[in-house]
Symmetry: C2
Subunit: 134 residues, 2 copies
DNA sequence: CCTAACAAGACATTTTTTATCCTTTTAGGG
DNA sequence: CCCTAAAAGGATAAAAAATGTCTTGTTAGG
């Protein structure tokens, strides 16, 4: 359980590759896809999601391509992962019959809350700079 | 992401219900399923998995049913979750083209390793006694 | 031997993941 | 103005996983 999907994996590979490029070097999607071995059409979808929230900037037409939206040291792994996988939510409720909604009687809830915090903390502590290896 | 499946949710509900019963009270699957609002046939599969690894003991025939395999304070949430969801593995590898296999060049690997440890630590620190509320 | 109860395996359905394709939009260059 | 390059967006398809059911087998008690 707790497994990153392939999409998340691809997302990280792709954006780490971008982060490893010289500043202001525009990369074609096709180049990135080939370099990190991801189906180009799939990576396109992923980068569209990145683009919408500003993790990357994109340019169309001749000479177009992708750039990192911010410097690598200001992009955390948490942002990247949540961009494509959605928020980290291990704690859909678990005890008794109903919705829980943080019911006082729900003893498991705080546990999942802690799991969530721990995971977020780890991922937030890692930046693309760390991953791209300056 | 990182979401417990419904199976895991059901598993926890079911075994926590068992843990909340008086010692040596045998519970019918049908009783448990009704109490925690889980499809009986599905819960049956889950308890079969528990049974195989000794988390619960089962008795067949008239007067049969389920009992906790050990005292609640000796069963951790980690065991319960891993019994039905498999091991906690967030770190299928992620960088570059290939298998990684803990390649030295794989910078993300240690991050997922840390995530795994954190999650395991949290879940291991909670027992069925804690959840069943003495 | 009849009934109660769990065990095990096969099967069906639904949802999610993992793609691919086609059309549209934007931009640059001749 | 037209042609080509490149990303954006939407629809669709295939594969895998999750979710649930059914049938048959096994074990035990009365």
């Amino acid at each position: 359980m707790m497994e990153l999907t392939r999409k998340g994996e691809y997302a990280i590979r792709g954006i780490v590759y971008l982060a490893a490029q010289p500043v202001d070097r525009v990369c074609l999607l096709s180049e990135i896809a080939a370099a990190v071995d991801v189906p180009p059409t799939f990576l396109a979808k992923i980068f569209q999601q990145f683009s919408k929230i500003g993790l990357v900037r994109s340019y169309r037409g001749t000479g177009g391509g992708f750039l990192l939206g911010r410097v690598p040291e200001k992009i955390t792994l948490l942002e990247v992962v949540e961009a494509v996988e959605g928020p980290i939510i291990p704690n859909r409720c678990v005890v008794g019959t109903g919705e829980c909604a943080r019911d006082v009687s729900c003893t498991v809830h705080p546990v999942w809350k802690r799991v969530q915090e721990q995971v977020r903390d780890v991922l937030e502590g890692v930046t693309l700079k760390d991953l791209a290896g300056g």
